[in-house]
Every structure is written in C-alpha cells, then in structure tokens.
C-alpha cells in the first residue's frame, strides 16, 4: 500500500524531473517501464528512490531498450494496469513502431517525453523534434511551460487517457524545465488519488487481459476487408478526445485553482500581431509582447497546451482577427514546406473567410537559448513583412542562425 506522504498542500522548489517523479509517486502507477536516456534518466532515478524506499506499489520494469519499455507498458495496460513510461529523442524513435499500436488498441498509457533534439548531430538539449515525430501516432499530446505545469499535466493526463481511452504524452522540455528549479505547488497525495480515482484493472480498459473468465485476443490481423472499420472508431475517438481533455482541465482547475485551457491566449483580444508558440518560450514571448505594447504595438501570444488532438476550432477563433501571425516551432521537419506547427495553424485558419498573414520561424534548435530579444526580432520581422518594409523569399525562416 502506497504511503501517504504529503498530507497538506505545499509549495516547494523543484526541478521538472523532481516534480514529475513526485506526480508519479502520488499517482502510484501499477506499472512503469523505462530505459535511461538524458534528460529523462534523472527523472526515473528519482522515482526509483521512491520505489526503493517503499513509498509506492509500482512494478518498475528496468527493460533493455525503449522498444521493450513501450512493449512492456502496452502489455501492462492491455492487462488492465495503470502504466507509464518516460523517454526522450532517439529513445522515442526507438519506441515508435509501438506507438500507433497503443493508440489503436485504445490503451490509456501515459508517457513523459522530456523533449530533446534528435540526432544528428548528437545533442542532448531541448527542442521539440521528438514530440513532432509522434504527432501522427494517435497519442494525445500536452505541452508544458514549466515544472508546475509538467507536474499538473501528468496528473491530468492519467485521467484524460483513461476517459478518452487513448494514450497521452506529457511534453516537458529537456534541461530548460527538467533540470531547472522552479516553484511547484504540490497537491496532497489524497487529492491526487481522489482526482484520478483508484486504478481498477477491471475498469481501466474495456477488455483487460487479466480477466481470464472472458479471454480476448489483442493484436489480431485485420485485412483489407476490416482494417478501415478498425481505424474509423480511433479516428472518431481522436476528435472526441478534445472534449475529454477540456472536461478534465475544468475539473482540475476546480481542484487546484488553476486556469488551464487547451489553448492560452495572452492579450489577443485587441492584438494586431501575434506569436503562436508551445512550451517554455511562451514566457519570453509574453514579455516581448508586453514590451511592444509599451511602444504602442498591439502584440499578443497564443500558447498551445493541447497539441494533439489539434484544437483547430479554438485556434481559429483566437486568431481570426489578427493581422499577422508568426508561428514559432522548435523543430524543423525538413519537408521543403514549413514547420509542423505552421502547417497545423495554416490548416486551422484556411476555412476562415479572412485569414491573418502567416510567417514561420524555426527556433531554439538543440537547446539554443531563446531570449526576449529573439522574440522581439520575430515580432519585428513579422511586422516588417506585413507592412511591406521587408520582403521574404519563403514563409519559413530560421530565427537564430548565424551567417
């Protein structure tokens, strides 16, 4: 039986990895399986300490690879367990072939993705390259700005995954959040456990493998005559997941006094120019918007919390009146078109009768520091293109590349 450690709410200074390990302890997962990779290694290390000290009941499987980690949590979740894993960068890519299996089988697994740049060149620092590769895997994805949000998001993700019956990724930026100390308001163990509800292997999934009275087969073949019919319910579930996310965010807001939404507009109501961004960069973007407003330029920021399913209706509503929008993506998909976030934003706006001008900035690659000056540069370039003072060869540009 898991020990009740935190009986009163308290604010503590914690890194993102510590905060996530704390959430994992409070959630008291049935099963966790992980393989070490920076910057996630430390997170599982903190959790392993809790396990060694007898604070949790979790079966922690120290697997031989990320491929095995994902396979183990898929098996555990299909059995009926509340299961999680954590990884980063190449580790996620090694898991990848199993990701669409987890989502089609509708297994409510949660994963902490400690965002790290993809090789090559080898780099352990933050960008969103890993998360972007999973954007079409059928997993729900939440992005977080700091350790507080990461802590809250993992707790919410458990409930989101189990109500939407889809696996969910919580993105936490490597080093920028995972290894940086910030204030974290912790809920009590009892509050977290009541919010997510007790893990019941009979109810976590509709057909648990542990139910030996009603044996089932997971992973049967579906040939051309059935494949479509087995994809379509997942297609619908992915759309429906947004409502599950919204409901869980609302419930969590009532519990924790937060104000989490699927997207978070900042001074957009009267804005002429806006930056769309995900993760920790939202902070510097808001500061830049404030500085521009002091000079009389109506700037705003749209932070996207829910990346998958993509809240295109909410985004169109938030941006429809803006003159020009700069989409900032911490990843380059190398597709000869634009960053993934730009493509999604463009799709979300396409059906509006009048659309903002769009520009795409790729930034923050491999942990490149992102400053307020960078955000001002993005705003200025956007405004100058919009007003015709500057021209552009392409709508996709690198924000921080040295000549």
């Amino acid at each position: 039986m898991a020990v009740e450690l935190i009986k009163e709410r308290k604010a503590v200074a914690m890194t993102g990895n510590q905060a996530i390990a704390e959430a994992m302890r409070q959630i008291n997962y049935d099963v966790a399986a992980a393989y070490p990779i920076s910057p996630q290694t430390e997170l599982m290390g903190f959790f392993a300490e809790y396990l060694a000290n007898g604070l949790v009941d979790t079966e922690f499987i120290t697997v031989e690879s990320e491929h095995s980690a994902m396979s183990a949590v898929i098996g555990a979740a299909a059995a009926g367990a509340r299961a999680m894993t954590a990884t980063a960068a190449q580790g996620l890519l090694y898991m990848y072939e199993n990701l669409p299996i987890a989502s089609n089988w509708r297994l409510p697994i949660t994963m902490v993705l400690v965002n790290r740049a993809l090789s090559a060149p080898l780099n352990i620092h933050c960008d969103h390259g890993d998360a972007m590769t999973a954007r079409d895997s059928g997993w729900i994805q939440l992005f977080t700005e700091n350790s507080q949000e990461a802590y809250h998001s993992l707790i919410m993700a458990v409930k989101i995954a189990e109500s939407a019956l889809l696996p969910a990724i919580v993105n936490m930026e490597g080093y920028i959040v995972s290894h940086t100390i910030g204030n974290v308001n912790l809920l009590t163990d009892a509050e977290v456990r009541e919010f997510i509800g007790e893990s019941d292997w009979r109810k976590n999934v509709p057909h648990p493998l542990l139910d030996t009275d009603n044996p089932v087969t997971y992973g049967a073949t579906a040939l051309p005559d059935y494949y479509t019919e087995l994809k379509y319910p997942q297609h619908l579930a992915t759309f429906e997941a947004k409502e599950h996310v919204k409901r869980v965010l609302e419930e969590f807001n009532r519990l924790a006094g937060t104000n989490y939404q699927v997207i978070e507009p900042y001074k957009l109501d009267d804005a002429d120019f806006a930056i769309v961004v995900m993760g920790s960069t939202a902070g510097v973007a808001r500061t830049a918007a404030d500085q521009l407003r002091e000079k009389g330029i109506k700037a705003g920021v749209l932070k996207i919390r829910l990346f998958r399913p993509f809240p295109y209706e909410e985004i169109a509503e938030a941006l429809k009146h803006i003159k020009a929008v700069a989409v900032l993506d911490r990843h380059d998909s190398m597709n000869g078109l634009a960053s993934p976030l730009y493509q999604d934003i463009a799709s979300a706006l396409y059906h509006l009768p009048e659309r903002p001008m769009l520009h795409d900035f790729i930034y923050g690659l491999g942990g490149r520091e992102v400053t307020v000056e960078d955000m001002l540069k993005a705003f200025n370039r956007l405004i100058n293109i919009y007003t015709g003072r500057e021209t552009r060869d392409r709508f996709t540009e690198y924000l921080q590349v040295r000549e």
């Binding site: 089609n104 089988w105 509708r106 297994l107 019956l165 999934v205 509709p206 057909h207 009603n214 044996p215 089932v216 087969t217 997971y218 049967a220 579906a222 005559d225 059935y226 479509t228 019919e229 087995l230 379509y232 319910p233």
Partner: protein, 104 residues
C-alpha cells in the same frame, strides 16, 4: 459472409469471441479447387488428416464434400491422395463452365 460495420466491432480491434476465424471466408483466396472422383475415393481420410484448413468434413468413416467456404485451394489433399482421386480444377474454368450453363 456479411461484413460487420465499425459499430459492431469491439473497441481496439480486440477479438472477444474464441474461434471466430470460422467466420472468415478464406475460400475467396482460392485459385483452384479440389474435385473428388467418387469412383476412385475410398474414404481413407488421408486428405482429412492433411488438410491444413480443416475444410474436409468427415464423420470418421466417410469423407463429405469439401467445405469451400474455407478451402484455400492449397492442393495438399490432391498430392497426398493415394488413389489420385482428387483433381485441382482452376477456379477460372469453374467460372467459365458456370457462365456456359447460365448463357444457354
């Protein structure tokens, strides 16, 4: 076989009833079908032993007609038959014969 719609399928593509491969019509995969010559067949049931798809029904004494809903036309029965009583006939020829009959 009537194909099920998406609403009739369990969540996650899970198989919840045992033995439902019986419902899958593998007979459509066949390009040749076994045709038994009753004059040569002795009901030795060697074909029943070898059939990998359980498509040769028998009561243990008599070989009944090949069950074409599942027979994939692999031809193992024709090869194994000690009396050369089974001939593999091309499905295309069967269809042509049927067409000739219906066009008369």
């Amino acid at each position: 076989m009537k194909l099920k719609g998406w609403k009739e399928l369990p969540i996650g593509g899970i198989v919840i009833e045992p033995g439902n491969s019986r419902e899958v019509e593998t007979g459509t995969w066949r390009i040749a079908r076994p045709v038994v010559d009753p004059q040569k067949c002795t009901d030795c049931l060697i074909c029943w032993v070898f059939c990998p798809d359980d498509s040769i029904p028998s009561n243990g004494k008599v070989r009944f007609e090949t069950e074409l809903y599942h027979c994939k036309g692999c031809g193992i029965c024709a090869v194994e038959c000690p009396y050369k009583a089974i001939e593999m006939v091309q499905e295309a020829d069967v269809i042509m014969e049927e067409l000739k009959l219906t066009s008369k």
